[in-house]
């Protein structure tokens, strides 16, 4: 098993942190994982990507070459990374951020959902990783939760835990 996941969007959405937490969760599960990010000089607003490779064997080439799962969270990221996905790869987009995609893709309303359910868009990244864990069946819900709780400040535990639960529900719902 080897799964290459790319999360791309703009700086400030928490996608690089999300890629780190997803990798850490995979490691808690006993898997091998690498994580790598690309960003520009901007702190917020520039196009960013967080790459995750999860495998049950040693990972040699350290970064994603062509993802199996591509999550696109901005129009610019779509322009930059939208065409780099495996032939049988899955593209997931948030319709709030990305429009006009011609190729086959799955639309998941991450932004609208966290905004409506949690009255905050900050835990958007948590919903995404929990969604991916469930959707791909590669990382356990418990390990995701453990990885997240190790990292976040105590006062954000409740809202982030809820975002993880919603993400898992959506992951289950969108499974083929």
């Amino acid at each position: 098993m080897k799964l290459e996941i790319r999360l791309c969007g703009f700086g400030g959405q928490g996608l690089i942190l999300a890629s780190k937490l997803l990798s850490q969760a995979a490691i808690i599960d006993g898997k091998i994982a690498t994580q790598y990010q690309t960003y520009g000089a901007q702190v917020r607003g520039g196009t960013v990507k967080g790459d995750v490779v999860i495998s049950d064997k040693r990972i040699d080439h350290p970064t994603v070459i062509k993802p199996d799962m591509l999550v696109i969270m901005s129009q610019d990221a779509y322009k930059k990374y939208g065409n780099f996905v495996k032939d049988d790869g899955i593209i997931i987009t948030d319709p709030f951020y990305v429009k006009g995609i011609e190729r086959e893709h799955i639309e998941v309303p991450f932004y609208e959902t966290v905004k409506e359910e949690l009255h905050s868009t900050l835990p958007l990244n948590m919903m995404i990783i929990s969604f991916l864990a469930k959707y791909t069946n590669t990382v356990s819900e418990e390990s995701i939760k453990k990885a997240v709780l190790e990292k976040i400040p105590p006062h954000t535990v409740e809202i982030n835990t809820k975002a993880l639960e919603i993400g898992a529900e959506f992951g289950e719902k969108f499974k083929k």
Partner: protein
Amino acid sequence: MSNAKLVQGDIACAMGAIDAGCRFFAGYPITPASDIAEEMSKLLPMVGGKFIQMEDEIASMAAIIGGSLAGAKSMTATSGPGFSLKQENLGFAIMAEIPTVVVNVQRGGPSTGLPTLPSQSDMMQARWGTHGDHEIIAIIPYTVEEVYYETIRAFNLAEMLRTPVILLMDEVIGHMSENFKRPDKSKIEIINRKFPTKTPEEYFPYDENEGLVPPLAPFGKGYRYHVTGLAHDKTGFPSTHEESVKRLMERMRDKILNNRAIIDKCDIRKEGNEEIGIFAYGSSARTSIEAIDNLKEKGIDVALMRPVTIWPFPKEQLLEFAKGLKKIVVPEMNFGQIVGEVKKYLSDDVEIIPLNKYTGRLITPEEIVDKILEG
């Protein structure tokens, strides 16, 4: 469940430094090496060490020379532009024989170049960046785990041989994270510098009667001596006396070349039936291993030579590796720096094929496979 954690290359470097006994870090922030400084600023105060952010990279290199002279194992970390600035004081540390560890997390250049993207284009700068005849030790790890262990080894070599050691990474190795389990400290070999056995009155800092590596007395312990970048005699005071200069130059050279057994480190993966080899280091070696696995599935066996110590260049190991090989591919993220060294030592019987990328992107396994298949 596993005990490993997701750890970033730069952070593993800081952990390795602390575990090696580093107690002084001076630096100036620069992507992709800033994470090392940031981590050292957190870790050093916890172990009674000192962290200082200097006004620039020149001063940072000067500060670690001072820190080391005062007896603290010392390190700085930078990237291309900062590595250029450190060269003058790096030469001073070589000449004055001050143990220091200088980390260069390579990014695309020249000048400010590509701050957030990888490159291996300072390989020759590590060898010849500072002026004058000198030997240098440079190490280039390829995984987060190896970054940790090689940082420790860099300190051990620096302290043992009274010399600067350069630890080269590239942006990917520095910025990527992967499984790493910090080992129990009892399992790590730590080497400390020799303390003088002579009294302050009898002590000479560069006394060749003490062997190739005379003990270095820490400042503040009653030993008074002179430290200079000028050629000097055993007292440390300048001397242009021909015999004295010759002995100094040769001792500084020989302390490296005669200790190759402890300095050299190579990862050679060869069964003996291969006709094709790859010579690769750092992140390009990881890509090469994946390419080798892909080629094996196609029925093509390819050998690998991965130098961990790149300077002094592993000439003898290369000659042994090349036996029986018809061609050697050398993938590098530069115009072709180390391939020149590979060519220098091999006869025309072996075809040397460079594979170069200098766009701030990693070489892909496919590119290496294609290069080998196209002949």
